[in-house]
């Protein structure tokens, strides 16, 4: 009995290794750029990190195909390079068959955010070659911000115009009132001097010395 189990495991792992190879039909290539993303806080990629990766993919498969108990041995990894890139294929929970590509893609797409955050990476630094990154929809506020700025500027300008025009109108009215009271006082003196015609500035005796 025990030998049969051992045989099965050896066979299945051999089978799995055969199934996982570069350009495998149902496999995906993964590429990580940890240093680019994290700079000083970059962690080393080792077996523990690989274990985490396999478990996150298993988690993603569980979410996609509920009821099926995927676990770490179902995620087969091969061709690891120093780049940090590798190929992986997903086997069914009973290690009997490969999960087709589309299912894997859907699973990864659904849980992409969780997978990324497990590694503190983004769609661009943790790449699944062949699965396009989801584009973040830009934040569109209800009122475009530029209209707000426009409103502020125009409000100030219009208020300024109204104030300046209004103050000059008020000033003119005041002048008229003053003029009429002045006229009442001086009406006797200025009957001939009013219509002098053009004021001849040649006869002013201001010394026009430029101040500079």
């Amino acid at each position: 009995m025990l030998e049969k189990v051992f045989l099965l495991i050896c066979l299945s792992s051999a089978l799995a290794e055969q199934l996982c190879k570069p350009d495998a039909a149902e496999g995906y290539k993964v590429r990580l750029s940890i240093k680019t993303a994290l700079d000083d806080q970059a962690y080393m990629w080792d077996d523990n990190e690989m274990f985490l990766f396999r478990s996150t993919v298993a988690y993603a498969m569980r979410r996609q195909l509920p009821g099926q108990q995927f676990s770490v041995p179902n995620i087969v990894v091969c061709n690891e390079t120093a780049r940090v890139s590798f190929w992986f294929v997903v086997m069914s929970p009973d290690m009997g068959s490969l999960i087709p590509k589309q299912q894997v893609e859907k699973a990864v797409r659904m849980s992409r955010g969780r997978i990324n955050s497990a590694f503190m990476l983004t769609d661009h630094t943790l790449e699944f070659i062949g699965i396009a990154p989801t584009l973040a929809s830009p934040y569109t506020p209800d009122t475009p911000p530029w209209l707000i700025v426009f409103g502020v500027v125009m409000g100030v300008v219009v208020a300024g115009i109204i104030f300046l025009v209004g103050s000059s109108v008020v000033q003119k009215k005041r002048k008229k009132k003053q003029k009429s009271t002045d006229n009442n006082a001086e009406v006797n003196e200025e009957h001939s001097a009013v219509n002098e015609g053009v004021y001849n500035m040649s006869f002013t005796d201001e010394e026009r010395i430029t101040r500079i």
């Binding site: 584009l135 911000p145 530029w146 125009m154 300046l164 025009v165 200025e190």
Partner: protein, 621 residues
Amino acid sequence: MAKTKDSGVEERPQWDNKIQYLLTCIGFAVGLGNVWRFPYLCQIYGGGAFLIPYLIALVFEGLPLLYLELAIGQRLRKGSIGVWNSISPLLGGVGIASMVVSFLVSNFYNTIMAWVLWYFFHSFQNPLPWSVCPLNEEHTGYVTECEKTSPVNYFWYRQTLNITPDIETSGSVQWWLVICLASAWSIVFICFIKGIKSMGKAVYVTATFPYLVLTIFLIRGLTLPGATDGLTYLFTPDWEILKNPRVWLDAATQIFFSLSVAFGGLIAFSSYNEERNNCERDALVVGIINSATSLYASIPVFSILGFKARTAYNNCLQDNILTLTNHFELPDQNMTLENYDDQFRYLQNKYPDEIAKLPLLDCNLQTYLDESASGTGLAFIAFTEAVIEMPGSQVWAVLFFIMLFSLGLSSMFGNIEGVLTPIYDLKLVPKWIPNQVVTGLVCLVSFAMSLIFSLESGNYWVEVFNNYVGSVPLLVIAFFEIVGVAYVHGMKNFSEDIYFMTGSKPSIFWKMCWMVISPLLLLGVFVAYVIVQAQTYPTYPAWNATKEPFPGNETLFYPNWVFAIIILLCVVPVVPIPLVALCRLISRAMGKTSTSARSDPNPYTNDAFEIEPQEPKHREA
């Protein structure tokens, strides 16, 4: 003084102080061209070597013209139309030409202000809207047009202008541009509401703020990586280029348009001066500050363009690094910008076949530096692209666009003044209409006319106006100005006028310039300009999103009807000069005396009672 008021003559407005006057003239002369035209010319004409024709043109063409305009405005104390009518009735058309040109230029110039405002309004967002491409409708990818070119180009050509593929397709009026135009004209109106009283206060800000921002950008620019690339590129003199006559032509035209002469605005500004004011010193101050500003502005502009080129080059290299790292499965960040060359050579020796098959980009810093941009291309494409890469982009964008706006606004003051002062001097409007209403009407009419530029093909029309209204007519007007003063008014009379105003006669240098050198230079520039323009049928760069290869502009010929409009734009402003001369000659020949200059009393100078010029010891200069 109550008697003065009752006599019914309005006192001519005066500047509060000399600083206001100087700042207004400097603000008028220093405009967008100092920032986005001069550095470009320096770049394409061999850097430091360009300064030689530029300075020669300044000394022999720019300064004499400037001095002339300031002097006659101050002496005759009228706007452009009144001044030329006073010098000779036959020359009255020169003033009308100035007024027409000022009006046309102010229309398209304020459209550029509207674009600056649009960008300013959009600078208060994170991320800046021209840094990312918008998603397409299905949210599956970015908009194709944006992907093919760049977010910056897309924002300018599509989201701002919504430009059509050619000038014949007009499209519709873009509402967002209309409200930006309305804001621009409202701001102009509020600054002009009390004539030069309000404008004189506004120039304290609009004329000085650009220098502050330029200094900030200078400091920021010089600390950016790649600044030295840009500066060495700009200032490395290429002496060979001086043999090219185009250089001299462009230097002369640049000085001429940069100083904003022949618009009538400078004459109007100096007419509000006191009579005895040293206009020679004013002219020198304004002219030299204008050129110094151009030089000063080119330093931050080119540091930032150098930064942009260096960043683009680094991005190009990073793309190559990524391609190589992915292909050869090298550890992440093993290949960096510093060791790129060594590593690349090593890989090339080891795997030459594989390298040959890889889609590697050819990264050349010189190519990026050679991408020259001027005009709106510099401000709205090159600079905005550079600003994205700088930390704290929003602050730099806001500062930059406020600077552009105040540069343009102070130039707009001169343009509007060139339209308003003749209206007042000609007494075209009855006295009971207050000045604010006249100013408001002028702004409203200009706003209505500039709605053309808010069409989808508006940018093409701005180019048409910019290239043809703001060039040939001004040269003609300036030529007639200088000939009119030097020969019709007479150098002797003019020297006397200057002696009256400044206390000393103009030196032999000025006289030589006014009588011989400047008219010849202007004539030469005009002829050369026309020849150069006439050599090729005029073309314009059009933005066509559906054409391959994209990105870029395709060069199209102007259709015939646009060509006719171009001819009209060159001729209509200039036509008043011969027309008015002809009319006056005819009416003089018919024996009418009402057109003689003596019969219109100039309330400010009564020539019959000329005061003897005071002794020079009164002058502190």
